[in-house]
Symmetry: C2
Subunit: 239 residues, 2 copies
């Protein structure tokens, strides 16, 4: 018997870029959980099986989408005057990209060897080299910065899981922070002096400022590392 219910075949062929773009759009507009091969197939007016001819797996798809966006960030950082500036630009760029596409956080922290991460390490490492961090410490320093960024990434990822896109993000964030601060205030005071102190300023804090504050601490640490190395060379400026 013939299947007369079979739908028409598409005329224009599918392509990986096309699929990746559709995936990014779904992720941005409907959140991480909304990206399924069924949903993607519906949006591209095809079947889920067809997608597997262009994309090896869901992880492959997510890695490709993430790499697209991270590549854009590292390109920006490459054109800064001083290495410290470049490092800050890179950090800011990652922050803003995570803000706009928070699902990237999940992907970045899923596999530290994916190309998007290699891109970031390369970019960070080049700046650390130019900063004059001594050779053997360069790798440590670069991975420390990378770890810090990945930590940020996972925070953004769970923020996105908490409030999927659509609603007024800033309002939701405000409510959520207030409720967390309230919960923290109910904790045993003698065991949680710090957290209870923090709870007071939590609702008013600025994520971005806080992140850049962290970057500043690390940059200071790197400077200190370099100066200690220079001390060894007899170039102690403080004497």
């Amino acid at each position: 018997m013939t299947l007369d219910t079979r739908t028409e075949r598409r005329t224009a062929p599918l392509s990986k870029t096309q699929i990746v773009e559709a995936a990014i759009s779904i992720l941005d507009r409907e959140g991480e959980d909304a990206l399924t091969f069924r949903a993607l197939a519906t949006r591209l007016v095809t079947g889920s099986g067809a997608l597997y001819h262009h994309v090896a797996s869901k992880d492959d798809l997510l890695a490709a989408a993430t790499d697209d966006l991270i590549a854009h960030v590292t390109r920006q950082a490459a054109s800064e005057a001083t290495p410290e500036q470049a490092l800050r630009t890179l950090a800011r760029g990652v922050f803003d990209t995570l803000q706009r596409h928070p699902w990237i956080g999940s992907v970045l922290s899923r596999d530290p060897w994916q190309y998007a991460v290699v891109r970031l390490i390369e970019s960070i490492g080049q700046q650390i080299q130019s900063m004059g961090v001594p050779g053997p410490a360069q790798f440590n320093a670069a991975t420390a910065v990378m770890s810090f960024i990945l930590g940020l990434a996972s925070q953004h990822a769970s923020r996105a899981r908490l409030f999927p896109p659509g609603a007024d993000q800033t309002a939701l964030r405000d409510v959520a922070l207030r409720s967390i601060a309230a919960r923290w205030m109910t904790l045993e005071p003698s065991e949680h002096p710090f957290v209870r102190e923090v709870a007071k300023i939590l609702p008013d804090h600025d994520d971005r400022e806080q992140f850049l504050g962290g970057v500043d601490i690390i940059v200071r640490g790197l400077r200190s590392l370099r100066e200690d190395a220079m001390d060894g060379d007899g170039s102690d400026f403080c004497r």
Copy 2:
């Protein structure tokens, strides 16, 4: 009609601690993916439905398991002489715990407001206060350290996903690192000078040393922060 196939009811009652312990044991011995409510029910000789009377969801279960283990780490750090020592002990403790129970990494990075994370922030924050970091910067500093630790956590989590437990971990790690280094060496040299340099030392590096190196950088940054604040008080020692 009566169902004669129905199995016997258990005599000793279930409890949340019992369930959490069984979950930890499965996670440690068979890996993250092996923990399913079906597997857990089989191991505890019960049905999956019964578990939901003691545990709200899988996330709840994972959070409870993680909190158990993290609480142990923060308790250790609390009894150190100097705050810098305590910070290092905390970091070392987290590292070693992640090494033994790498699935914790996934859980920690899933939800930054779970109690295990609050425990860590409190512990970090107390040390940062004693270090004399100026008030307004304390929160930034604590979350920076937390971010760094979460970054480490996510790296461990994906290591665990890469090689589920059972096999010879160190041998597998060695092979994996060598293959990654080899892949990095095939990258376009002009665009990846740093990563290709790193590839040479990658197979021989020590994760733990590297992590502690990162902690050192951050501690240096914190010292620098404190000294700048003291400068403002006229206590500049370098003049």
